[in-house]
């Protein structure tokens, strides 16, 4: 199916700007399919990603139809641009996150040390971090704990959602998940503290 015509988009927008209660439904019906197909075909998104980004775009328009300027582009182009930006943002953040999760040492790039420290200090921090990673890898921790530690490394303020996902706790009810995440985060931070201390003791 081709993307909806400019005229069709214009008619829908007029209805959106009036009191028409079914206009929102017709915007979904008209644009969701073409948007999903465009994202799958042009950006190589999976169906689920394309569906989520297309819905993001349509909901953004439904919330604020007045932000669409019909003199600048067709509604189809407007929604496609929003959906593509959403898909690109989602791809960038998932790629960066995967990269961080693969190697905690990227913390050095994610949260670089202060720019005013000397090269020697910078090298020293990097070496300490390398040693700490070796200790973590050699500590025989289960994969789940390593995933949790990666989140602690990678996110300055590790979010409950990221931690729950890493620890496989996302399925729990909200309150139970919050408590479990807090408990595990405290435990992992204690492990990290111990490993750091061991490194300092070995050094001295």
């Amino acid at each position: 199916m081709n993307s909806p015509s400019r005229k069709r988009g214009w008619d829908l927008h007029e209805r959106m700007m009036s009191h028409d209660s079914t206009a929102t439904f017709d915007v979904f019906m008209t644009f969701m399919g073409p948007l999903i197909r465009a994202l799958e075909r042009n950006l190589g998104c999976s169906y689920d990603e394309a569906n989520a980004c297309a819905a993001d775009a349509v909901y953004a328009y439904v919330r604020h139809p007045e932000r669409f300027d019909a003199s600048k582009a067709s509604l189809s182009t407007f929604l496609t641009q929003i959906a593509k930006h959403k898909a690109q943002d989602s791809y960038r953040s998932s790629t960066a996150r995967n990269r961080r999760e693969q190697d905690p040492r990227t913390i050095f790039e994610v949260h670089p040390p202060a720019p005013n420290i000397s090269l020697e200090e910078r090298v020293d921090i990097k070496q300490r971090l390398d040693r700490l990673v070796q200790r973590i890898e050699g500590a025989g921790l289960p994969e789940r704990d390593l995933a949790g530690i990666r989140v602690i490394f990678a996110e300055e303020r590790c979010s409950m959602e990221s931690m729950a996902e890493a620890l496989g706790l996302s399925h729990l009810p909200q309150e139970e998940m919050r408590q479990a995440v807090r408990r595990h985060t405290d435990r992992l931070k204690k492990i990290l503290k111990r490993l750091c201390k061991e490194d300092l003791d070995d050094e001295s």
Partner: protein
Amino acid sequence: MTNLDWLKRAAQRSTTEPGLLGQVFATYQTLEHCSPEALADELGCNEQTLQMLALCRKPTGEVFAEQVKAICERFGLAPLALVNVLRQVEIMGEMETTAANDSGRGVARLQLAARDRSRKDKPTP
């Protein structure tokens, strides 16, 4: 035939979108402890139509009646059923706000009171 694979997720998302019927339906289901199937039955439609309805704007203001009529004509619903759901959610919302402002003491009592005037109390012809 139109592929509506996206419909279910879009409708689920509408439950948190102010101004859409999806949010009204979600509130009603919570208040009445009813499933989507039960709500669809009450409105006289199937579940897919319920998902489509969820993506419509909530009728409101001076054009309430006109909007209800348009929705019902489009989806083949009886207006009374939809109006009952809309009014119940609206009344409960107002009562709970008032109750919360009164330090929340009367919430449970108000919920019971509102439930007393539910479907069972429809006037008999």
